[in-house]
Symmetry: C2
Subunit: 246 residues, 2 copies
Amino acid sequence: MTDAALRQTDPDEASPEARPATRTLSVVDRIRTAVLAGEFEPGTRLHEVRLSERLGVSRTPIRSALQSLASEGMLEYTPNRGYSVRRFSTAEIVDAYEIRAVMEALAARFAAERGLPDAERAAIERVLAEGDEILAARDLGEEEKLAYTAVNTTFHEAIHSAARCRMLGDMIRVCHSVPHSSHRNVISFEHMDVRRRHDDHHRIYDAILACDPYRAELLMREHVASVKTSLVRALSGRPMARRGRS
Amino acid sequence: MTDAALRQTDPDEASPEARPATRTLSVVDRIRTAVLAGEFEPGTRLHEVRLSERLGVSRTPIRSALQSLASEGMLEYTPNRGYSVRRFSTAEIVDAYEIRAVMEALAARFAAERGLPDAERAAIERVLAEGDEILAARDLGEEEKLAYTAVNTTFHEAIHSAARCRMLGDMIRVCHSVPHSSHRNVISFEHMDVRRRHDDHHRIYDAILACDPYRAELLMREHVASVKTSLVRALSGRPMARRGRS
DNA sequence: TCAAGCGATAATGTATACACATGGGGGCTG
DNA sequence: CAGCCCCCATGTGTATACATTATCGCTTGA
């Protein structure tokens, strides 16, 4: 397994792309990526000194970053004992889906109540069309699966932003730090499943366009809840492939 | 206005009660209390050096505490510009109620699905009876209002804990850092309002006892949403008494 | 007079040294 | 030999000095 995210940054790196404003923020990103990639087993303690050596910064930004990640729910903190990678039970993962379902449903309702600016409307239509195109193929290769996962993520993020409610967006983001509980993980690429879900997207968009908050909310809630059902089926069928991985 | 929460602690204070494990945690409590008490106007910047002088600790625990409070949503952070007391628009306050409504409804549903241990059942029945008793009086004095507010808080907290879902509890807690959006603020003590809400509590408890998740969820959602309606009415009737106060 | 550039000042970001808490291992004792 | 206690190693908590960045007033030129 590569640990690119945790390699020390080249001091004289002149990367033109916008880098984070502070080292703390950069460290947050790198540790989050590493944990989501499964570089640390759940329960592993993250020692400040070791991390600071690995990342080439002092303990101060490390501590700050760990605190951030703990508040996102990704790490666990015990006073005087430091931080460790949070261990999620199956029950917690399933609960996270329930929470996400009601939150995303509320976001869809807000979007329907508040209406879509032209730019967002266009963006959603574009991503829906892209999804149509990908799913037109009989079978999906690895590349198409990745592409559809991106489409899925973009659609949901568009709804979150259309809700125009920062607190709601923050809370949904927290749900995504729970393993398996993210748009980034399309649980099933079975023909029926993925096409049905894409059809859900169309209907949700229709409801939002029609300013039908009630229908938008119901559809979104069922949409997310159905993924939970798939997940539960997958988990009971065979033991989870590996903790903390996608 | 007293600023007791922000006074420097007596070094040789030998308070027998359990004090926080670290200074950071103690500072978190003190700043949170001060902000909730309205000692800082929304938008006020919290300078690290000044706080550290006022509280008699170094900048390190202050920074840590400010970061915690920002992640709770009580403060706002801008890189290289520090922390300031978050300003909540009326829209955000109303939205917080909507969010709280779906979250508490989910908690009620979880409680109904998961059942109540005897101890919790007894605790809820006790607090419901206490509410009955307080509301038996024709009119409520200040003391009774305070007492009923405590009853209200206890009831809701019992439901949260009965949900047995840490993430949900955390999220509901975040909603409470929004001014006006807390059980601690009983918006209206009008006869009808408070009695109707107390009756809601009874029904919600009945639904949970009867293991009827659907009804528990619906009742709780309407219960919280109705407070939102009262709040909106109060806000539109007269300008909010004062930002950030109860 | 106004705008733009520049420099002083104050605040935050980071590094580092020291204080303190925790947990485990070795030695002492019964 | 078992059990307890003390000591020390490890690692977090805190203080403080230094680096870097924002802000604001001033100067200077058009």
